[in-house]
């Protein structure tokens, strides 16, 4: 296997978590790459839903936005966005929701809204978008986020979407129907909630990465699971497929648009 980037490894690790019969609510960026990689490798029947209203889409190149024309053209159907959120997501029809964020805490709660106080933020982030309800309803949530002490924090500046709240069953007691963040895929490996405390702990490392590196990247004292798996490097097939997808995507996004005059 040729050397791969950590982003590629994250993408491959996330893709491997997906199963052929999953219905996935896909976000832009790494999640979109992971879902489409899964579809192009071991999960050809996976159903991808983008919040723009495209159901069962099979894009040849990745969208830059959540609603590129490619998604509509290759979809089984395109429905109004309110239906996606009410008749599909809220109705419990989504197996896997992918989320990113600017900050995550030890219970998998996410911030994508502000750094600093809400009323006078030092950094105004894009906001929650579809995340609060994806986090609430998807049967399981996978979070993809590169680890730094600024992103894996003791205390969120703002809770945009709920993970396990304060842990120890708080989420289930809140009435949330979905299962919460079952995996956090990051650039050293993977965290998952402890079955009782629901605190994220180290459960897997990329082959060759140490627990020390992981601990250094996390802003709280990281617990390590009794068993820590090793995540095999991307296979040549995975990497070739992913790189070809990226290459097609770069080429397509650079293609000049004919201005209608």
């Amino acid at each position: 296997m040729s050397a791969c980037t950590r982003d590629e490894w994250m993408t491959v690790a996330a893709a491997r978590l997906l199963q052929n019969r999953d219905v996935c609510f896909v976000g832009i960026g790494l999640p979109s790459a992971a879902c489409n990689l899964a579809r192009l490798t071991h999960a050809p029947e996976i159903v991808l839903i983008y919040e723009s209203g495209t159901i069962g889409t099979r894009p040849d190149v990745m969208p830059l936005s959540i609603g590129d024309g490619e998604l509509a053209q290759t979809a089984a159907c395109v429905v109004p966005l309110p239906e996606i959120f009410s008749y599909y997501l809220q109705a419990g029809r989504v197996d896997v929701g992918f989320l990113g964020a600017a900050q995550i805490d030890r219970h998998g709660n996410l911030n994508s809204t502000v750094i600093g106080p809400y009323e006078s933020p030092s950094t105004r982030l894009p906001g929650a978008g579809g995340a609060p309800e994806i986090a609430q309803h998807a049967h399981q949530v996978f979070v993809m986020l590169r680890a730094t002490r600024r992103s894996f924090v003791e205390q969120l500046d703002f809770c945009s979407s709920a993970g396990y709240l304060d842990g120890h069953g708080a989420r289930a007691r809140s009435g949330a129907t979905g299962g919460g963040p079952r995996a956090v895929i990051t650039d050293f490996g993977m965290l998952a909630p402890h079955p009782q405390s629901e605190e994220l702990q180290l459960v897997a490392l990329f082959d060759g990465v140490t627990a020390e590196e992981a601990r250094n990247a996390i802003g709280w004292p990281l617990q390590v699971a009794d068993r820590v798996d090793s995540i095999a490097p991307p296979t040549a097939h995975e990497l070739d497929t992913l790189r070809a997808l990226h290459a097609r995507t770069r080429e397509a996004h650079a293609r000049p648009v004919h201005l209608p005059l």
């Binding site: 919040e51 723009s52 209203g53 495209t54 969208p63 830059l64 936005s65 959540i66 609603g67 590129d68 024309g69 998604l71 509509a72 053209q73 395109v78 429905v79 109004p80 966005l81 309110p82 959120f85 009410s86 997501l89 809220q90 809204t113 009323e119 006078s120 933020p121 105004r124 982030l125 894009p126 906001g127 929650a128 978008g129 579809g130 995340a131 609060p132 309800e133 609430q136 309803h137 703002f158 809770c159 945009s160 979407s161 709920a162 709240l165 989420r171 809140s174 009435g175 949330a176 129907t177 397509a252 996004h253 650079a254 293609r255 000049p256 648009v257 004919h258 201005l259 209608p260 005059l261």
Partner: protein
């Protein structure tokens, strides 16, 4: 009341008043850029802007001082990063203070649906465990009168004016839309006044028994505006200019560069055709 077919300039002049609440909808697809630029050219002020995803068009309108308030659910440049003008308004009140009314997508969809149905509020299972309700008094709770279950409630959104871009209208003003819709239909039907810009005006719409059609009698004005969604896109007409969306990140990053670009391409062009021509000249 049939729709009037009007020049875009006249439609904006007549129906978009200073202080109005205005929703330019279309989710990534069919964003009415031409209409937004015309609002900027006419120096409309104190608008309450409403859009799920403000996108570049509201970044431009906010940066040019058109907006007093923003109702939204995701304010980034999709796949690229920040909307720098929106950030500058929130973080530094430049060019002036911007009031935020912030939702999730699901909450805003429910609010548009309620608006279209003329219900006073929409409901959803949502916002659970988040800090949004603490900062937005427009997120409350309602109890199911049968089960007692508590649900999130949001007030209906009924914009004074909704503006959409669509592929085509016929001469009576019936509007047909193909492809990704977002909450455009609900935003249209929720509005007090609906304006639609279109790629084409045709003698007869293509047959579409269950297709998306806004009947002429819910539309106030139709403006013929080819390329009216660029750099967003019109399925079947032209693709999204993803390269431009990336380029916007640089253009909008600082105030001077932003103003220069807006002056050159929007304020100093008389209409959307000239705007597109000026970009093409730039690229050549």
């Amino acid at each position: 009341m049939s729709a009037a077919i009007l020049p875009l300039r006249e439609a904006i002049d007549r129906f978009v008043n200073d202080g109005a609440s205005v929703a330019l909808e279309g989710f990534t697809h069919l964003i009415p850029f031409a209409a937004g630029h015309e609002i900027i050219r006419q120096r409309k002020r104190d608008l309450h802007l409403i859009r799920m995803t403000p996108d570049l068009i509201y970044d431009q309108m906010i940066g040019m001082g058109c907006a007093r308030a923003l109702t939204f659910s995701w304010g980034g440049n999709p796949g690229v990063g920040s909307l720098h003008r929106l950030r500058d308004a929130v973080e530094n009140s430049w060019p002036h203070r911007l009031e935020l009314n912030e939702h999730s997508h699901a909450g805003m969809a429910a609010a548009f649906c309620a608006g279209a149905a003329r219900l006073p509020f929409g409901m959803l299972k949502g916002y659970l465990g988040t800090d949004l309700p603490a900062h937005n008094p427009n997120i409350r709770r309602v109890a199911c009168p049968f089960t007692g279950e508590m649900l999130a409630a949001v007030p209906a959104i009924n914009p004074d004016v909704t503006i959409l871009h669509a592929q085509r209208a016929d001469r009576a003003g019936n509007v047909a839309i193909d492809g990704i819709l977002g909450a455009a239909r609900e935003a249209a039907l929720a509005a007090r006044t609906l304006i639609v810009t279109v790629e084409e005006i045709v003698d007869a719409l293509p047959p579409a028994m269950n297709g998306i059609v806004l009947p002429h009698w819910v539309v106030r004005a139709v403006a013929h505006c080819p390329g009216g969604a660029y750099p967003s896109y019109a399925q079947g007409h032209y693709a999204r200019d993803n390269a431009f969306y990336r380029k916007w990140d640089t253009i909008a990053r600082d105030r001077a560069g932003f103003l220069a670009w807006m002056n050159q391409h929007v304020l100093d062009t008389p209409d959307h055709g000239a705007f597109l021509a000026s970009l093409q000249k730039d690229a050549a």
